[in-house]
């Protein structure tokens, strides 16, 4: 098998809470690999730690209150990103690894034209002249399917629609041809027809540019349509990982199973939705044992006291659940 491009090992990102009353263990021992050219979906609900994971990779966690714990390890192109100096890190950020955020309006600078903002990275990382960088900006806007790119290059963010702003964000991220694109909920703020445009754009750009995409989302539908492999996060941990086909066909973790049953679908007959009882616990106070046990329909004594590791449950398929070792209990409860 090919070498992974990005290797995250036992990542722990903690936050000191405001009143100093505790430590929020937002990301608590997360490991995964990203291979060249693939799309890895990282799925979870709010509070699962998916966004903190993606921000930690680029070391964009504000310190304090956050800190990445010793023992965490993020390898990219043979180096541990967590031990790089600020200048070394800057040479990677926006250049080798780029990021697209959820809110294009708040992540674009309102007082610069979109052309200036796209050109900035090319001037900094590739030493392009202003003129060449402007030409590159127009080229990038064309690439991301912006109508009238030569004209739009001089527009300010407020003159653009939400979908166009997200195209600008993608153009900015891709201007240096990164190896890895981290897309954090890139379509969540968009309408469904515009979401379809952006997802199609990301697919096309990946085919043309061959980058790997880490797609962070809460939407299982988006993952099903775009990701090759999926990492499911819950309460700061990876609870399940598998290829997309395998995960949707044979979910092993009761949380994944519950999420799939809770999603309303347009393509199946209407039926009662199976909700997961309760809500995601607070990061300052994860439950003992398996963190999902208070909401799990199968939980037994062992789950309340002993935390399961990620267990192999098939080729390339792992789940953090004791049911993997005692599958008979599933039918006993259900």
């Amino acid at each position: 098998m090919t070498e992974p491009l990005l290797r995250v090992r036992d990542l722990r990102t903690y936050f000191v809470t405001e009143r100093g009353s505790g430590t929020a263990r937002a990301v608590d021992g997360v490991s995964f690999e990203l291979y060249p050219g693939e799309t890895l979906g990282i799925v979870g609900e709010s509070g699962s730690g998916k966004t903190v994971t993606s921000l930690s990779v680029l070391r964009l966690i504000p310190e304090p209150p956050g800190h990445i714990r010793p023992g965490s390890y993020i390898e990219f192109e043979g180096r541990n990103l967590l031990t790089l100096s600020p200048p070394e890190l800057r040479a990677i950020r926006g250049n080798r690894i780029a990021m697209v955020f959820q809110e294009p309006m708040t992540s674009l600078n309102p007082v610069f034209t979109v052309g200036d903002q796209i050109a900035e990275a090319a001037i900094i990382h590739q030493g392009l002249s202003r003129k060449a960088a402007r030409a590159r900006a127009i080229e990038m806007l064309t690439l991301v399917g912006m109508p009238d790119p030569a004209e739009r290059v001089d527009h300010y963010p407020h003159q653009l629609s939400g979908g166009m702003r997200q195209r600008v964000m993608i153009a900015m991220a891709l201007v240096c041809h990164p190896k890895v694109l981290i897309a954090d909920e890139p379509t969540t703020a968009l309408d469904v027809t515009i979401q379809a445009q952006i997802l199609e754009l990301l697919e096309r750009l990946q085919r043309e540019l061959g980058m790997a995409i880490m797609l962070i989302t809460h939407d299982l539908g988006v993952v099903a349509g775009t990701a090759d492999r999926v990492v499911v996060m819950y309460a700061g941990q990876v609870v399940e990982t598998a290829t997309t086909t395998e995960l949707f066909a044979r979910p092993r973790h009761p949380y994944t199973e519950g999420l799939l049953a809770a999603v309303p679908r347009v393509d199946t007959p209407r039926e009662q939705l199976r909700a997961i009882p309760g809500s995601v616990p607070a990061a300052t106070d994860w439950p003992a044992g398996c963190r999902f046990h208070p909401r799990c329909p199968y939980a037994w004594d062992k789950c309340r006291t002993s935390e399961p590791p990620l267990l192999d449950s098939g080729p390339g398929h792992q789940a953090r659940c004791w049911l993997v070792t005692e599958p008979a209990r599933r039918s006993a409860t259900a």
Binding site: E45, I194, L220, L259, L260, R265, Q272
Partner: protein
Amino acid sequence: MTAPLLDVRGLVKHFPGERAFFGLGAAQPPVRAVDGVSFAIREGATLGLVGESGSGKSTVARTLLRLIEPTAGAVLFEGADVLGLGRVELRALRRKMQIVFQDPYGSLNPRMTVRATLREPIVIHKLATGDKIEQRVRTLLDEVGLDGQYADAYPHELSGGQRQRVGIARALSVEPRFIVCDEPVSALDVSVQAQVLNLLAELQRRHRLTYLFIAHDLAVVKHIADEVAVMYLGKIVERGPAEAVYRAPRHPYTTSLLSAVPVPDPAAPSRRIVLQGDVPSPANPPPGCPFHPRCPHPKKDARCRTEPPALVEVAAGQIAACHFAQAPMAPGG
């Protein structure tokens, strides 16, 4: 057939155009947020109103509750015109028509406990006195599945799902017949969203409630609505029984919208139609059919650019505003 509980006819809301240059420049054309919308909801049923941002769906909700005043049209509730009511009558009507908002955090007073929030409408509408008030608060919490211990909590101490339960309890507190649910689950996580949707369905059965359910998520609407109306640029472009509209949409916009909803199944055949361009501004809608610049229909012709299509019946109870709605759009178009 009995008269519908709510009957909306030709509802129009135009907002005056903004003035450019800090309010000193020339006035922009008015924004036609809602442009002649008609629908009816029978008692105990749910109409799902779907559309993308800027389609005018939330403006419809707010005008028919008179949270904003409509420009023209009629809204008949229990046979009486809501738009002609004076202030006192309107207050009495608000007992019967309630709304649940998208953002329960923004719509709950942060300085009021759950108990105080629920007591207020009961006291204002004189629905109970003395100990009976507290009893009602208990019953309401129980109805929405909140433990009694939360009565003394403030909104910031609750999770998103719990807050939305409080929002629903507040709407129920005055025993309404009709509730507008304006994107009630859009801000919630999937696992909690299902809890709230199931709760709304359960309450409807128990109290014979009538819902206008507004959402941008077609999958959510499918799970709760009996009828569905699709809005585009201030107009309803298709309306009909939910089952029929989802199975055999007749307006190319509905077809495209449905095809664009991501399906949580990697084995599902991909028939995604990707619409080009953005929704035009409601201040300057295209002539003819408002959808024509983005329309993927293979038969699209000159008529679409000049002649606005009327809403015509295309199947039992299903109407669509498209010159080619008599047949479903051919696949591959």
